[in-house]
């Protein structure tokens, strides 16, 4: 009797909670539960499954088709946090505005964003993609070559980002980075940004694009950007990749230099 009336009184609250955060529950289901299920049944890792799918369904040599296949897989079968079509369009627009010649990408994961950037690069530009995990890097390499980009355009570096950045100037002969894309671990955004500033590879007008600054979010990074005063920054608001209701954003920073 008592318990019944208490439960019924709290029922509207529970219902509200479920309905308001339904997208997060759906995301949890797709990103965690479905993944665990497939891991148990197939024995392949998620990235390998993705690669299998892309191999069988995409047209080799056509980056457009590879991206589309990837999008299809991510929305219908499983969830991988690539940059996604909507945010990808924003990134394409920024790239076409700035036409960078040297691009650094931190965290290529499966290679989706690498292919996307490489597709939008002008002639003679070069993309350096840093990936920490060796297995993922192997898959990314395969996908990049499948898309038809050779070593002149895209170079994949397999190493953690904090080790690579200080050595970029010495080992790879880079003078200045026109465009940096950050999509690796969110807690590494801020140290990596500071390392880039320290290494002197950012010049006036260099653009840094950081993904997922709202969900899962990189509060330290945003705080640093606001306080340092070195950047003109802007947050492009969009939705999280492959889901409709979760709000996310990409931070676009334009380096101004020390005043």
């Amino acid at each position: 009797g008592n318990l019944l009336s208490l439960t019924l009184a709290f029922l509207p609250l529970v219902l509200t909670f479920i309905i308001r955060y339904r997208y997060y529950f759906v995301l949890f289901y797709r990103a965690v539960l479905v993944r665990m299920w497939y891991d148990c049944t197939t024995g392949l890792s998620r990235e390998e499954r993705a690669f299998q799918y892309v191999l069988t369904h995409a047209i080799p040599g056509d980056p457009e088709s590879i991206l589309e296949t990837f999008d299809l897989w991510c929305s219908k079968v499983e969830f991988i946090s690539n940059i996604g079509p909507k945010k990808g369009k924003i990134m394409d627009r920024i790239l076409s505005e700035h036409c960078p010649l040297t691009v650094l990408e931190l965290g290529s994961h499966c290679g989706y964003s690498t292919v996307r950037i490489a597709r939008a690069l002008p002639l003679g530009a070069r993309l350096y993609s840093v990936e920490m995990d060796a297995i993922n890097a192997a898959i990314a390499e395969k996908i990049i070559r499948l898309a038809g980009f050779d070593d002149d355009t895209v170079e994949l570096i397999v190493s953690p980002s904090d080790e690579v950045i200080p050595r970029l100037r010495a080992d790879y002969g880079l003078e200045r980075l026109d465009f940096v894309f950050m999509d690796h671990w969110k807690k590494c955004y801020r140290p990596d940004l500071q390392a880039l500033e320290g290494s002197g590879l950012l010049g006036k007008g260099s653009v840094v694009l950081a993904d997922n600054v709202l969900f899962p979010g990189a509060p330290n990074f945003l705080r640093h950007v606001r306080k340092s005063g070195l950047y003109e920054w802007k947050i492009h608001r969009a939705t999280l990749e492959y889901s409709k209701g979760i709000r996310d954003g990409m931070a676009e920073l334009v380096y101004q230099g020390i005043k």
């Binding site: 009184a9 509200t16 990189a218 003109e232 920054w233 802007k234």
Partner: protein
């Protein structure tokens, strides 16, 4: 010397006109003194000068009177100004409000007439003092003022006091304490009459104040045509200059951008109307879900009330705290959680935010009303129970009295009366005190729920978000759960309903308004602190309607609906026989009849009985209805005329605009031609060549999205003067 036949004292009409014009001009000059850009001292001196000689404008004998009138008017205005300042200073939270307004913007903190809040408890406290100070009998002197012997043991227990039993029940807080003696003390203070009149008078005063405020607000609100020049209005009037906080400014910026995007989308969508059937279906579905929720909450309250009646029959002491307070807790919890559910369901409907807010407020209204009336119906049942008990007790009383005398006396003998201690006299169940107690308990539980929600839902949440954010995997501030938003309309509605409950219970628990003032003070400071420390402003700030009258209208409806039950009980149910100021009468309003008969001369009674004859009252009511209809139709026609005038004004200004643009074009072309044809221009014409029609290169790039960048030059500025000569070295030309 005579100058002909003319009479120079009579002025011709033209001269009169001229004189009048000059006087008007001078008057205008004086009235603009205030606005002149002079230093303050000069203005004050000129003002004094004018005041001294102003009387000279009046003519002849009435000069002195005129000067006197003007001086009195000025003094009256000054007094009014000072009084306004005093009233503002008396409101202890004015500075805090300004601070919060700068952060939260928009209307707020419905401080509806502070006077209502202060006058209500003022009146009701007044005759408490009257009862005490003017020789009402103190505690313990009468059976109705004493705790019964049986309850004495635990009358001071905190648990009992918290439930408003024990000593709290037999105190000035409740109806049952008051003496029904017709005139008290040496002032012959008419206690029952004053109780009744104050009760009715506060209701009447509340009505008056609310309607006057509505009328005042209606004057300020112009008629509006909200649909033309949508984008221009948004462009030029969106910014709010009251903002004083950077976070709010950022939010406002984002919300203006969003509102532009929305307006563009709306414009696009209004051009195409596809899938209207889906929208309609979804709206019907949403309403159906809301009805289900309302029905469910009504049923739950009914179920809980039945249970509590069962418990009451078994005796309340044998049950746990939850079982005793179940009804109040369930009502408060439902009142808190169901609006959230409504909010979520309304996402289906896809309305414009303002309309969605109005629907939301309407639904919350229905919820609270349903809950309150279920509660009242349950209360009615209890009242009937108590009245049956009373009948039984009256019988028992006669038996008890007879047993006191033990049958030793005959009917007509006069023996000394046996003194019995007031605590031992059996007394009737006092349904009015019970009603008062229920309302006070309801208000207390509502207050507790509000405070606890504030502490847990706002403060605890803010603490968790702030300190867990350092070690959590996702950004707690930006995503779930983030800081709670301050919901303006929900809070205002809560205030309005709280006031409704006060109005309902004030007749039976006279100190209730005073308690409520205390509670509102504490609430205000608590909420101020919470709002500045734990809340963030809402992302999209918009009003429920164009004017403040929306909430006032709601307040009026609540006033009507909550005084209805109180008036019903006063008129239909006979008062208890041994408690309260109307004990012994057959109806509460008999006190008026009594007063008319005994305190006023006979003719007054006759006049009153004629005036209250239905034959007179009904035609009067009919006349009032007709008057209302007439006033309504005239006001509608005025509004119409107003709108048409506005439209005419718009067309006129548009034509003027066009003419001005034309003139500008003309002037520009004239200037160009004169520049080109002058000897200075002729030399450069050869150089102009290619660069003649070149727009400066800086304006060709498309405007970059305006984030936090320094804005670039405005594109396409066609009023720039002719481009300066390109320094083309002469060698290229030849």
């Amino acid at each position: 010397e005579k100058v002909g036949e003319e009479k120079p004292e009579v002025l011709s009409p033209e001269e009169l006109e001229k004189l009048k014009e000059e006087v008007d001009e001078r008057k205008k000059l004086i009235s603009t003194l205030r606005g002149k850009p002079w230093p303050m001292r000069k203005k004050l001196e000129s003002h004094e000068f004018v005041e001294k000689y102003e009387g000279a404008l009046g003519k002849g004998k009435s000069r002195k009177l005129y000067a006197y009138k003007v001086m009195m008017l000025k003094k009256w205005m000054k007094f009014q100004r000072d009084f306004e300042n005093f009233k503002t200073a008396c409101v202890p939270w004015e500075m805090k409000i300004k601070e919060i307004e700068s952060k939260y913007v928009s209307y707020l903190f419905l401080l509806y007439p502070c006077t209502v809040l202060l006058v209500l408890p003022g009146c009701l406290l007044f005759f408490n003092l009257a009862e005490k100070a003017l020789m009402g009998r103190p505690y313990g002197s009468m059976p109705r003022k004493t705790v019964p012997r049986a309850d004495e043991a635990n009358a001071m227990d905190f648990a009992v006091l918290w439930d408003f039993g024990g000593y709290a029940q037999y105190s000035v807080l409740f109806y049952g304490y008051y003496n029904s003696q017709r005139a008290i003390g040496w002032l012959k203070f008419r206690m029952p009459l004053s109780y009744f009149l104050v009760g009715v008078g506060t209701v009447a005063y509340s009505y008056m104040v609310v309607i006057r405020t509505m009328a005042r607000n209606a004057n300020e609100d112009g008629g509006g045509d909200n649909n033309s020049f949508n984008f221009s209005w948004k462009m030029f009037t969106s910014w709010d200059y009251l903002i004083g906080n950077p976070e709010t400014a950022d939010n406002k910026f984002a919300s203006i951008t969003t509102s532009f995007k929305e307006a563009i989308l709306e414009e696009q969508e209004s051009r195409k109307d596809d899938n209207i059937h889906l929208t309609r279906f979804l709206r019907v579905l949403a309403n159906f879900l809301v009805l289900c929720c309302l029905a469910g909450s009504g049923y739950l309250i009914y179920f809980v009330v039945r249970r509590s009646q069962k418990f009451a029959l078994e005796g309340l002491e044998s049950h746990s705290w939850w079982e005793r307070n179940e009804v109040n807790m369930v009502m408060s919890l439902l009142g808190m959680f169901c609006p959230m559910l409504f909010d979520v369901i309304s996402a289906l409907e896809n309305y414009h935010p303002r309309i969605a807010l109005q629907w939301q407020l309407g639904r919350i209204f229905a919820l609270f009303l349903g809950n309150l009336y279920t509660f009242i119906i349950a209360l009615m049942d209890e009242i009937n129970l108590k009245r049956e008990e009373e009948e039984v007790l009256k019988l028992n009383m006669t038996i008890w009295e007879a047993s006191l005398y033990n049958g030793t006396l005959g009917v007509n003998s006069t023996a000394p009366p046996i003194t019995v201690h007031p605590a031992d006299i059996p007394r009737g169940p006092c349904w009015e005190t019970m009603v008062g107690q229920e309302f006070v308990r309801l208000i207390v539980s509502d207050t507790m729920t509000t405070y606890i929600t504030l502490l847990i839902g706002d403060f605890l949440r803010a603490v968790l978000v702030r300190f867990l954010n350092y070690c959590w995997c996702w950004d707690l501030e930006a995503g779930f759960p983030s800081y709670s938003e301050f919901d303006v309309s929900g809070n205002v509605l809560g205030l309005i309903f709280n006031q409704g409950m006060i109005w309902m219970g004030a007749f039976y628990a006279p100190c209730l308004p005073a308690l409520n003032v205390l509670r509102l003070h504490v609430s205000m400071y608590l909420q101020c602190w919470a709002v500045m420390c734990c809340n963030v402003p809402q992302e999209r700030v918009f009003k429920a309607s164009g004017s403040n009258n929306f909430y006032m209208a709601m307040l009026l409806v609540i006033l009507f609906l909550s005084t209805l039950p109180a008036i019903y009980t006063i008129v239909t149910i006979p008062p208890s026989f041994d408690c309260g100021p109307f004990s012994g009468k057959s109806r509460m309003f008999d006190v008026i009849q009594e007063t008319l008969e005994s305190d006023f001369p006979a003719w007054f009674g006759k006049v009153f009985s004629y005036a209250s004859n239905p034959g007179l009252v009904l035609p009067f009511l009919l006349l009032m209805v007709l008057a209302i209809y007439y006033l309504q139709s005239t006001s509608k026609s005025y509004k119409q005329a107003n709108l048409e005038l506005k439209k005419k004004l718009q067309t006129v200004s548009r034509t003027i605009n066009k003419v001005l643009t034309l003139i500008q074009h003309l002037l520009y072309s004239l200037f160009m031609s004169s520049y080109l044809s002058s000897p200075l221009g002729g030399e450069h014409r050869a150089h102009q060549g290619k660069s003649n029609h070149q727009i400066p290169p800086s304006a060709t790039s498309p405007p970059a999205p305006r984030g936090h960048r320094i804005p670039g030059p405005l594109p396409g500025n066609q009023w720039q003067p002719a481009p300066s000569v390109q320094r083309v070295p002469n060698s290229q030309r030849h």
